[in-house]
Protein backbone atom coordinates (compact mmCIF):
# COMPACT_ATOMS: atom_id res chain seq x y z
CA UNK A 1 0.00 0.00 0.00
CA UNK A 2 1.34 3.43 -0.97
CA UNK A 3 1.02 6.18 1.62
CA UNK A 4 0.81 9.79 0.46
CA UNK A 5 0.87 12.80 2.79
CA UNK A 6 -0.94 15.98 1.79
CA UNK A 7 0.18 19.13 3.61
CA UNK A 8 -2.02 22.24 3.66
CA UNK A 9 -0.51 25.75 3.58
CA UNK A 10 -1.29 26.12 7.31
CA UNK A 11 0.71 22.98 8.10
CA UNK A 12 -2.21 20.61 8.65
CA UNK A 13 -1.32 17.26 7.13
CA UNK A 14 -3.22 14.13 6.24
CA UNK A 15 -1.68 10.79 5.29
CA UNK A 16 -3.82 8.54 3.13
CA UNK A 17 -3.57 5.19 1.38
CA UNK A 18 -3.35 5.52 -2.38
CA UNK A 19 -4.34 2.93 -4.96
CA UNK A 20 -1.68 2.02 -7.50
CA UNK A 21 -2.73 3.20 -10.95
CA UNK A 22 -4.72 6.19 -9.69
CA UNK A 23 -3.23 9.64 -10.13
CA UNK A 24 -2.21 11.73 -7.13
CA UNK A 25 -5.13 14.01 -8.06
CA UNK A 26 -7.60 11.08 -7.95
CA UNK A 27 -6.15 10.04 -4.60
CA UNK A 28 -6.72 13.56 -3.27
CA UNK A 29 -10.32 13.64 -4.52
CA UNK A 30 -11.03 10.18 -3.08
CA UNK A 31 -9.96 11.45 0.34
CA UNK A 32 -11.58 14.92 0.01
CA UNK A 33 -8.28 16.76 0.34
CA UNK A 34 -8.83 20.54 0.38
CA UNK A 35 -7.17 22.55 -2.39
CA UNK A 36 -7.39 19.98 -5.20
CA UNK A 37 -10.37 20.76 -7.44
CA UNK A 38 -9.46 18.98 -10.69
CA UNK A 39 -12.23 20.64 -12.64
CA UNK A 40 -11.25 19.06 -15.94
CA UNK A 41 -11.07 15.59 -14.44
CA UNK A 42 -7.45 14.91 -15.30
CA UNK A 43 -7.37 16.03 -18.93
CA UNK A 44 -4.50 18.46 -18.22
CA UNK A 45 -6.66 21.43 -19.21
CA UNK A 46 -7.45 23.46 -16.10
CA UNK A 47 -4.51 23.55 -13.64
CA UNK A 48 -6.87 23.27 -10.64
CA UNK A 49 -4.97 20.27 -9.27
CA UNK A 50 -1.75 22.27 -8.88
CA UNK A 51 0.55 21.23 -6.02
CA UNK A 52 4.20 21.36 -4.95
CA UNK A 53 6.29 18.19 -4.86
CA UNK A 54 9.99 18.01 -4.11
CA UNK A 55 10.65 14.37 -4.82
CA UNK A 56 12.74 13.14 -7.73
CA UNK A 57 10.72 9.91 -7.87
CA UNK A 58 7.89 11.77 -9.59
CA UNK A 59 10.05 12.65 -12.59
CA UNK A 60 9.84 15.85 -14.65
CA UNK A 61 6.80 17.73 -15.85
CA UNK A 62 6.09 17.33 -19.58
CA UNK A 63 6.01 20.37 -21.88
CA UNK A 64 2.22 20.25 -21.90
CA UNK A 65 2.16 20.21 -18.10
CA UNK A 66 4.61 23.16 -17.99
CA UNK A 67 2.36 25.12 -20.36
CA UNK A 68 -0.62 24.51 -18.11
CA UNK A 69 1.30 25.41 -14.96
CA UNK A 70 1.71 28.88 -16.45
CA UNK A 71 -2.07 29.10 -16.20
CA UNK A 72 -2.27 28.02 -12.54
CA UNK A 73 -4.14 30.16 -10.07
CA UNK A 74 -1.42 30.08 -7.42
CA UNK A 75 2.27 30.90 -7.23
CA UNK A 76 4.24 28.66 -9.58
CA UNK A 77 7.53 27.38 -8.16
CA UNK A 78 10.20 25.05 -9.48
CA UNK A 79 8.48 22.27 -7.50
CA UNK A 80 5.08 22.95 -9.10
CA UNK A 81 3.29 19.96 -10.59
CA UNK A 82 -0.17 19.04 -11.77
CA UNK A 83 -1.22 16.19 -9.51
CA UNK A 84 -3.29 14.63 -12.32
CA UNK A 85 -0.07 13.88 -14.18
CA UNK A 86 1.56 11.78 -11.45
CA UNK A 87 0.59 8.14 -11.33
CA UNK A 88 0.68 6.35 -8.00
CA UNK A 89 2.87 3.27 -7.74
CA UNK A 90 4.46 1.45 -4.82
CA UNK A 91 7.68 3.29 -5.68
CA UNK A 92 6.05 6.52 -4.51
CA UNK A 93 5.39 5.32 -0.96
CA UNK A 94 5.89 8.17 1.50
CA UNK A 95 5.36 10.92 -1.10
CA UNK A 96 4.71 14.37 0.39
CA UNK A 97 2.44 16.75 -1.53
CA UNK A 98 2.11 20.42 -0.54
CA UNK A 99 -1.06 22.28 -1.46
CA UNK A 100 -0.82 25.87 -2.71
CA UNK A 101 -2.19 29.07 -1.18
CA UNK A 102 -4.49 31.11 -3.34
CA UNK A 103 -2.89 34.42 -4.25
CA UNK A 104 -5.23 37.32 -4.62
Amino acid sequence: MTKITFVQPDGRSQTVSARAGDSVMQTALAHSIDGIFAECGGAMMCATCHCYIEDARTGEASQGEEDLLDCAEDEVRPSSRLSCQIKVSEDLDGLVVHLPVTVD
Binding site: E39, C40, A43, M45, D67, D70, C71, E73, V103
Partner: protein, 391 residues
Protein backbone atom coordinates in the same frame (compact mmCIF):
# COMPACT_ATOMS: atom_id res chain seq x y z
CA UNK B 1 -28.10 -5.79 -21.38
CA UNK B 2 -31.14 -3.85 -22.50
CA UNK B 3 -32.22 -2.15 -25.69
CA UNK B 4 -32.08 1.62 -25.51
CA UNK B 5 -35.56 2.90 -24.77
CA UNK B 6 -37.01 5.39 -27.22
CA UNK B 7 -38.85 8.51 -26.14
CA UNK B 8 -41.33 9.41 -28.88
CA UNK B 9 -43.14 12.07 -26.88
CA UNK B 10 -40.60 14.73 -26.04
CA UNK B 11 -40.22 17.57 -28.54
CA UNK B 12 -37.56 20.24 -28.92
CA UNK B 13 -40.25 22.80 -28.19
CA UNK B 14 -40.93 21.14 -24.81
CA UNK B 15 -37.23 21.10 -24.01
CA UNK B 16 -36.82 24.72 -25.02
CA UNK B 17 -39.73 25.82 -22.82
CA UNK B 18 -38.80 23.91 -19.64
CA UNK B 19 -36.52 20.86 -19.83
CA UNK B 20 -36.14 20.30 -16.10
CA UNK B 21 -39.27 18.21 -15.34
CA UNK B 22 -38.43 16.11 -18.41
CA UNK B 23 -34.85 15.56 -17.24
CA UNK B 24 -36.01 14.69 -13.72
CA UNK B 25 -38.23 11.97 -15.14
CA UNK B 26 -35.46 10.73 -17.45
CA UNK B 27 -32.95 10.50 -14.57
CA UNK B 28 -35.44 8.40 -12.63
CA UNK B 29 -36.80 6.17 -15.37
CA UNK B 30 -34.69 6.30 -18.57
CA UNK B 31 -31.27 7.81 -17.82
CA UNK B 32 -30.04 6.68 -21.25
CA UNK B 33 -32.72 7.21 -23.87
CA UNK B 34 -33.05 7.88 -27.57
CA UNK B 35 -35.16 10.98 -28.12
CA UNK B 36 -36.92 10.17 -31.38
CA UNK B 37 -37.47 13.74 -32.48
CA UNK B 38 -33.74 14.52 -32.42
CA UNK B 39 -32.50 10.97 -33.14
CA UNK B 40 -29.91 11.52 -30.43
CA UNK B 41 -29.24 9.63 -27.22
CA UNK B 42 -29.81 11.72 -24.09
CA UNK B 43 -27.70 10.94 -21.04
CA UNK B 44 -28.96 12.69 -17.93
CA UNK B 45 -27.18 11.33 -14.82
CA UNK B 46 -24.17 13.04 -13.25
CA UNK B 47 -21.90 9.99 -13.17
CA UNK B 48 -22.52 9.24 -16.86
CA UNK B 49 -22.17 12.74 -18.28
CA UNK B 50 -18.91 13.30 -16.40
CA UNK B 51 -17.51 9.96 -17.45
CA UNK B 52 -18.41 10.55 -21.10
CA UNK B 53 -16.66 13.93 -21.23
CA UNK B 54 -13.57 12.53 -19.55
CA UNK B 55 -13.18 9.71 -22.08
CA UNK B 56 -12.67 11.45 -25.42
CA UNK B 57 -11.19 8.32 -27.06
CA UNK B 58 -14.60 6.68 -26.81
CA UNK B 59 -16.69 9.84 -27.04
CA UNK B 60 -15.20 12.10 -29.68
CA UNK B 61 -15.97 15.79 -30.15
CA UNK B 62 -15.27 15.43 -33.84
CA UNK B 63 -18.52 15.59 -35.73
CA UNK B 64 -18.04 15.98 -39.49
CA UNK B 65 -21.71 16.74 -40.01
CA UNK B 66 -22.01 19.59 -37.54
CA UNK B 67 -23.44 22.86 -38.85
CA UNK B 68 -20.69 24.53 -36.83
CA UNK B 69 -18.42 24.13 -39.82
CA UNK B 70 -20.40 26.25 -42.29
CA UNK B 71 -21.39 28.66 -39.51
CA UNK B 72 -17.79 29.35 -38.49
CA UNK B 73 -16.35 28.77 -41.97
CA UNK B 74 -13.83 26.50 -40.25
CA UNK B 75 -13.41 23.23 -38.44
CA UNK B 76 -12.97 24.66 -34.92
CA UNK B 77 -11.23 23.41 -31.80
CA UNK B 78 -14.60 22.69 -30.20
CA UNK B 79 -14.93 19.84 -32.66
CA UNK B 80 -11.41 18.48 -32.41
CA UNK B 81 -9.77 15.94 -30.13
CA UNK B 82 -6.35 15.12 -28.76
CA UNK B 83 -3.17 16.95 -29.73
CA UNK B 84 -4.81 18.98 -32.47
CA UNK B 85 -7.34 20.38 -29.99
CA UNK B 86 -4.69 20.97 -27.34
CA UNK B 87 -2.39 22.92 -29.69
CA UNK B 88 -5.15 25.30 -30.74
CA UNK B 89 -6.54 25.72 -27.26
CA UNK B 90 -3.16 26.33 -25.63
CA UNK B 91 -2.41 28.96 -28.29
CA UNK B 92 -5.16 31.10 -26.78
CA UNK B 93 -5.20 29.93 -23.14
CA UNK B 94 -2.50 32.30 -21.79
CA UNK B 95 -4.86 35.24 -22.44
CA UNK B 96 -7.39 33.68 -20.02
CA UNK B 97 -4.95 32.49 -17.36
CA UNK B 98 -5.42 33.56 -13.72
CA UNK B 99 -2.15 35.47 -13.97
CA UNK B 100 -3.34 37.63 -16.87
CA UNK B 101 -6.77 37.97 -15.30
CA UNK B 102 -5.01 39.49 -12.29
CA UNK B 103 -2.64 41.71 -14.26
CA UNK B 104 -5.03 42.88 -17.00
CA UNK B 105 -8.65 41.86 -16.97
CA UNK B 106 -9.73 42.25 -13.34
CA UNK B 107 -8.80 45.94 -13.22
CA UNK B 108 -10.22 46.64 -16.65
CA UNK B 109 -13.43 44.76 -15.89
CA UNK B 110 -13.84 46.70 -12.64
CA UNK B 111 -13.57 49.95 -14.59
CA UNK B 112 -15.98 48.77 -17.29
CA UNK B 113 -18.43 47.40 -14.74
CA UNK B 114 -18.42 50.69 -12.81
CA UNK B 115 -18.99 52.54 -16.06
CA UNK B 116 -21.87 50.33 -17.23
CA UNK B 117 -23.52 50.13 -13.80
CA UNK B 118 -23.25 53.90 -13.28
CA UNK B 119 -25.22 54.45 -16.50
CA UNK B 120 -28.22 52.62 -15.04
CA UNK B 121 -30.89 55.08 -13.83
CA UNK B 122 -31.54 54.76 -10.10
CA UNK B 123 -35.22 54.70 -9.23
CA UNK B 124 -36.31 53.51 -12.65
CA UNK B 125 -37.29 50.13 -14.03
CA UNK B 126 -34.95 48.69 -16.64
CA UNK B 127 -34.37 45.38 -18.37
CA UNK B 128 -31.04 44.37 -16.86
CA UNK B 129 -30.68 41.55 -19.37
CA UNK B 130 -30.60 43.94 -22.33
CA UNK B 131 -29.12 46.98 -20.57
CA UNK B 132 -26.35 45.35 -18.56
CA UNK B 133 -25.87 41.58 -18.82
CA UNK B 134 -25.34 41.47 -22.60
CA UNK B 135 -23.39 44.72 -23.16
CA UNK B 136 -20.88 44.25 -20.32
CA UNK B 137 -20.20 40.66 -21.44
CA UNK B 138 -19.57 41.94 -24.96
CA UNK B 139 -17.30 44.77 -23.84
CA UNK B 140 -14.91 42.77 -21.67
CA UNK B 141 -14.72 40.03 -24.28
CA UNK B 142 -13.84 42.54 -27.00
CA UNK B 143 -10.87 43.62 -24.88
CA UNK B 144 -9.81 40.11 -23.94
CA UNK B 145 -9.76 39.08 -27.59
CA UNK B 146 -8.02 42.25 -28.78
CA UNK B 147 -11.04 43.60 -30.67
CA UNK B 148 -11.63 46.87 -28.79
CA UNK B 149 -12.75 48.45 -32.07
CA UNK B 150 -15.90 46.31 -32.19
CA UNK B 151 -19.04 47.80 -30.65
CA UNK B 152 -21.14 45.98 -28.04
CA UNK B 153 -23.88 45.69 -30.63
CA UNK B 154 -21.53 44.13 -33.19
CA UNK B 155 -20.08 41.66 -30.71
CA UNK B 156 -23.54 40.56 -29.60
CA UNK B 157 -24.89 40.31 -33.12
CA UNK B 158 -21.90 38.30 -34.38
CA UNK B 159 -22.19 36.00 -31.40
CA UNK B 160 -25.87 35.35 -32.02
CA UNK B 161 -25.36 34.77 -35.77
CA UNK B 162 -22.61 32.24 -35.07
CA UNK B 163 -24.78 30.45 -32.52
CA UNK B 164 -27.80 30.44 -34.83
CA UNK B 165 -25.65 29.04 -37.61
CA UNK B 166 -24.06 26.42 -35.38
CA UNK B 167 -27.51 25.24 -34.35
CA UNK B 168 -28.83 25.23 -37.91
CA UNK B 169 -29.42 21.49 -38.08
CA UNK B 170 -32.18 22.04 -40.63
CA UNK B 171 -29.68 23.69 -43.04
CA UNK B 172 -31.80 26.78 -43.50
CA UNK B 173 -29.84 28.83 -46.11
CA UNK B 174 -31.10 32.09 -44.58
CA UNK B 175 -29.29 31.39 -41.29
CA UNK B 176 -26.04 30.53 -43.04
CA UNK B 177 -26.33 33.71 -45.13
CA UNK B 178 -26.53 35.68 -41.89
CA UNK B 179 -23.56 33.87 -40.33
CA UNK B 180 -21.60 34.38 -43.58
CA UNK B 181 -22.24 38.12 -43.39
CA UNK B 182 -21.09 38.14 -39.76
CA UNK B 183 -17.96 36.18 -40.73
CA UNK B 184 -17.13 38.75 -43.40
CA UNK B 185 -17.43 41.60 -40.89
CA UNK B 186 -15.32 39.76 -38.32
CA UNK B 187 -12.63 38.82 -40.86
CA UNK B 188 -12.39 42.45 -41.97
CA UNK B 189 -11.89 43.60 -38.38
CA UNK B 190 -9.31 40.87 -37.71
CA UNK B 191 -7.29 42.02 -40.72
CA UNK B 192 -7.56 45.61 -39.61
CA UNK B 193 -6.27 45.01 -36.05
CA UNK B 194 -3.63 42.37 -36.85
CA UNK B 195 -0.78 44.85 -37.51
CA UNK B 196 -1.47 46.62 -34.23
CA UNK B 197 -1.14 43.37 -32.26
CA UNK B 198 2.06 42.42 -34.05
CA UNK B 199 3.59 45.88 -33.56
CA UNK B 200 2.63 46.10 -29.89
CA UNK B 201 2.27 42.65 -28.34
CA UNK B 202 -0.21 42.51 -25.45
CA UNK B 203 -2.15 39.95 -23.41
CA UNK B 204 -5.22 39.79 -25.63
CA UNK B 205 -5.96 36.40 -27.19
CA UNK B 206 -5.32 37.58 -30.75
CA UNK B 207 -1.99 39.15 -29.84
CA UNK B 208 -0.89 36.13 -27.80
CA UNK B 209 -1.65 33.84 -30.75
CA UNK B 210 0.03 36.10 -33.31
CA UNK B 211 3.19 36.51 -31.25
CA UNK B 212 3.58 32.90 -30.10
CA UNK B 213 6.94 31.20 -30.65
CA UNK B 214 5.25 28.64 -32.87
CA UNK B 215 2.06 30.31 -34.09
CA UNK B 216 -0.90 28.27 -35.28
CA UNK B 217 -2.14 29.08 -38.82
CA UNK B 218 -3.89 32.45 -39.07
CA UNK B 219 -7.05 30.72 -40.30
CA UNK B 220 -7.20 28.81 -37.01
CA UNK B 221 -6.57 32.01 -35.02
CA UNK B 222 -9.63 33.45 -36.74
CA UNK B 223 -11.60 30.31 -35.93
CA UNK B 224 -10.49 30.45 -32.28
CA UNK B 225 -11.53 34.08 -31.91
CA UNK B 226 -14.89 33.29 -33.48
CA UNK B 227 -15.38 30.43 -31.03
CA UNK B 228 -14.64 32.83 -28.20
CA UNK B 229 -17.14 35.34 -29.62
CA UNK B 230 -19.78 32.64 -30.12
CA UNK B 231 -19.15 31.17 -26.70
CA UNK B 232 -18.04 34.10 -24.59
CA UNK B 233 -21.01 36.44 -24.56
CA UNK B 234 -24.12 34.32 -24.03
CA UNK B 235 -22.66 32.40 -21.14
CA UNK B 236 -21.61 35.26 -18.87
CA UNK B 237 -24.72 37.18 -19.94
CA UNK B 238 -27.05 34.30 -19.08
CA UNK B 239 -25.10 33.38 -15.96
CA UNK B 240 -25.40 36.94 -14.62
CA UNK B 241 -29.11 37.13 -15.38
CA UNK B 242 -29.70 33.71 -13.82
CA UNK B 243 -27.77 34.50 -10.64
CA UNK B 244 -29.58 37.84 -10.27
CA UNK B 245 -32.92 36.11 -10.69
CA UNK B 246 -31.96 33.48 -8.10
CA UNK B 247 -30.88 36.09 -5.56
CA UNK B 248 -33.77 38.48 -6.17
CA UNK B 249 -36.36 35.71 -5.81
CA UNK B 250 -34.71 34.44 -2.61
CA UNK B 251 -34.30 37.58 -0.48
CA UNK B 252 -33.24 35.71 2.69
CA UNK B 253 -30.39 34.14 0.75
CA UNK B 254 -29.48 37.50 -0.77
CA UNK B 255 -29.21 39.06 2.69
CA UNK B 256 -27.03 36.21 3.89
CA UNK B 257 -24.85 36.44 0.76
CA UNK B 258 -24.35 40.16 1.43
CA UNK B 259 -23.55 39.51 5.09
CA UNK B 260 -21.00 36.80 4.33
CA UNK B 261 -19.86 38.35 1.04
CA UNK B 262 -20.56 34.93 -0.43
CA UNK B 263 -20.70 36.22 -4.00
CA UNK B 264 -18.58 33.43 -5.41
CA UNK B 265 -20.90 30.87 -3.84
CA UNK B 266 -23.84 32.70 -5.42
CA UNK B 267 -22.05 32.50 -8.76
CA UNK B 268 -21.41 28.74 -8.47
CA UNK B 269 -24.97 28.04 -7.38
CA UNK B 270 -26.44 30.10 -10.22
CA UNK B 271 -24.53 28.24 -12.93
CA UNK B 272 -25.25 24.91 -11.25
CA UNK B 273 -28.96 25.68 -11.04
CA UNK B 274 -29.36 26.73 -14.70
CA UNK B 275 -26.19 25.98 -16.64
CA UNK B 276 -25.86 28.52 -19.49
CA UNK B 277 -24.67 25.70 -21.75
CA UNK B 278 -27.06 22.89 -20.99
CA UNK B 279 -26.05 20.18 -23.42
CA UNK B 280 -22.91 18.96 -25.20
CA UNK B 281 -22.76 16.44 -28.01
CA UNK B 282 -20.25 13.63 -28.44
CA UNK B 283 -19.91 10.92 -31.11
CA UNK B 284 -19.19 7.31 -30.12
CA UNK B 285 -16.07 5.91 -31.78
CA UNK B 286 -16.85 2.31 -30.75
CA UNK B 287 -19.47 0.14 -29.13
CA UNK B 288 -19.76 1.18 -25.50
CA UNK B 289 -21.88 0.48 -22.45
CA UNK B 290 -23.54 3.40 -20.65
CA UNK B 291 -25.46 2.30 -17.58
CA UNK B 292 -27.51 -0.76 -18.55
CA UNK B 293 -27.34 -0.08 -22.28
CA UNK B 294 -24.93 -0.84 -25.09
CA UNK B 295 -24.57 1.88 -27.69
CA UNK B 296 -23.14 1.31 -31.13
CA UNK B 297 -20.40 3.29 -32.84
CA UNK B 298 -21.17 6.58 -34.61
CA UNK B 299 -24.08 7.46 -32.39
CA UNK B 300 -24.54 11.03 -31.20
CA UNK B 301 -24.76 11.15 -27.44
CA UNK B 302 -26.05 14.31 -25.78
CA UNK B 303 -24.55 14.78 -22.34
CA UNK B 304 -27.05 16.90 -20.45
CA UNK B 305 -25.03 18.79 -17.85
CA UNK B 306 -28.16 20.80 -17.01
CA UNK B 307 -29.62 17.55 -15.71
CA UNK B 308 -26.42 16.27 -14.10
CA UNK B 309 -26.32 19.49 -12.09
CA UNK B 310 -29.66 18.61 -10.48
CA UNK B 311 -29.04 14.87 -10.07
CA UNK B 312 -30.66 13.59 -6.86
CA UNK B 313 -27.70 11.23 -6.39
CA UNK B 314 -25.48 14.28 -5.79
CA UNK B 315 -27.69 17.20 -4.78
CA UNK B 316 -30.42 17.28 -2.16
CA UNK B 317 -33.28 19.39 -3.52
CA UNK B 318 -31.29 20.18 -6.67
CA UNK B 319 -34.24 21.84 -8.38
CA UNK B 320 -34.03 24.74 -5.92
CA UNK B 321 -31.65 27.70 -5.96
CA UNK B 322 -29.76 27.46 -2.68
CA UNK B 323 -26.46 29.30 -2.34
CA UNK B 324 -25.81 27.63 1.01
CA UNK B 325 -26.29 24.00 -0.05
CA UNK B 326 -23.61 21.40 0.69
CA UNK B 327 -20.83 22.04 -1.79
CA UNK B 328 -20.25 19.58 -4.60
CA UNK B 329 -18.50 20.25 -7.92
CA UNK B 330 -21.01 20.92 -10.70
CA UNK B 331 -20.66 20.35 -14.42
CA UNK B 332 -21.68 23.75 -15.76
CA UNK B 333 -18.15 24.23 -17.15
CA UNK B 334 -18.00 20.64 -18.39
CA UNK B 335 -15.13 18.30 -17.71
CA UNK B 336 -12.36 16.64 -19.66
CA UNK B 337 -10.30 18.24 -22.45
CA UNK B 338 -13.05 20.70 -23.42
CA UNK B 339 -13.50 22.05 -19.89
CA UNK B 340 -14.54 25.70 -20.29
CA UNK B 341 -11.53 27.90 -21.00
CA UNK B 342 -13.39 30.90 -19.60
CA UNK B 343 -14.32 29.41 -16.22
CA UNK B 344 -11.83 31.44 -14.17
CA UNK B 345 -12.58 34.65 -16.05
CA UNK B 346 -16.29 34.17 -15.41
CA UNK B 347 -15.81 33.50 -11.69
CA UNK B 348 -13.66 36.56 -11.21
CA UNK B 349 -15.55 39.03 -13.36
CA UNK B 350 -19.07 38.06 -12.29
CA UNK B 351 -18.51 36.51 -8.86
CA UNK B 352 -15.83 38.81 -7.50
CA UNK B 353 -16.54 42.08 -9.28
CA UNK B 354 -19.98 42.50 -10.87
CA UNK B 355 -22.27 41.00 -8.21
CA UNK B 356 -20.92 42.94 -5.20
CA UNK B 357 -20.68 46.13 -7.28
CA UNK B 358 -24.26 45.92 -8.52
CA UNK B 359 -25.76 45.22 -5.11
CA UNK B 360 -23.68 47.95 -3.52
CA UNK B 361 -25.02 50.47 -6.01
CA UNK B 362 -28.63 49.18 -5.89
CA UNK B 363 -29.01 47.44 -2.51
CA UNK B 364 -32.80 47.35 -2.73
CA UNK B 365 -33.32 46.52 -6.38
CA UNK B 366 -36.25 44.22 -7.04
CA UNK B 367 -37.81 42.28 -9.88
CA UNK B 368 -41.02 43.99 -10.95
CA UNK B 369 -42.67 40.56 -11.09
CA UNK B 370 -40.78 37.26 -11.29
CA UNK B 371 -43.58 35.86 -13.45
CA UNK B 372 -42.71 38.34 -16.19
CA UNK B 373 -39.28 36.77 -16.63
CA UNK B 374 -39.26 34.44 -19.62
CA UNK B 375 -36.87 31.48 -19.56
CA UNK B 376 -35.96 29.74 -22.76
CA UNK B 377 -33.48 27.39 -24.35
CA UNK B 378 -32.44 23.79 -24.87
CA UNK B 379 -28.76 24.07 -25.87
CA UNK B 380 -28.19 27.44 -24.27
CA UNK B 381 -30.56 28.53 -21.51
CA UNK B 382 -31.27 31.61 -19.45
CA UNK B 383 -33.80 34.40 -18.93
CA UNK B 384 -34.69 36.44 -22.02
CA UNK B 385 -35.49 39.51 -19.92
CA UNK B 386 -34.94 40.75 -16.39
CA UNK B 387 -37.19 43.70 -15.54
CA UNK B 388 -35.79 45.22 -12.35
CA UNK B 389 -36.61 48.38 -10.44
CA UNK B 390 -33.33 49.95 -9.39
CA UNK B 391 -33.27 51.21 -5.83
Amino acid sequence: MLDIPVNEAVTLADLTRDPYPIYRQMRAETPVVRVAQTNRIFVTRFEHTKWIKENPEIFSSDDPMTPMKPAFQAHTLMRKDGDEHRAERMAMQPAFSPKVIRTDWAELYTKLAEDYVSRLPKGETVDLFADLCGPIAARILAHMLGLEEATDEQMQRWSQRLIDGAGNFGNDPELFALSDAANAEMNALFEQVMPRHIAAPNNSAFSVMLNAKMPIPVSQMYANIKIAIGGGINEPRDALATILYGLLTNPEQLEEVKRQEAWLDAFEEGVRWVAPIQVSGRRTTQEVQIGDHVIGPNETVMTIQASANRDEAIYADGEAFNVFRDKHPHQAFGSGPHHCAGAQVARRTLGQIMLPLLFERFPNMALTDPKEVIWSGFGFRGPLNLPVTLA
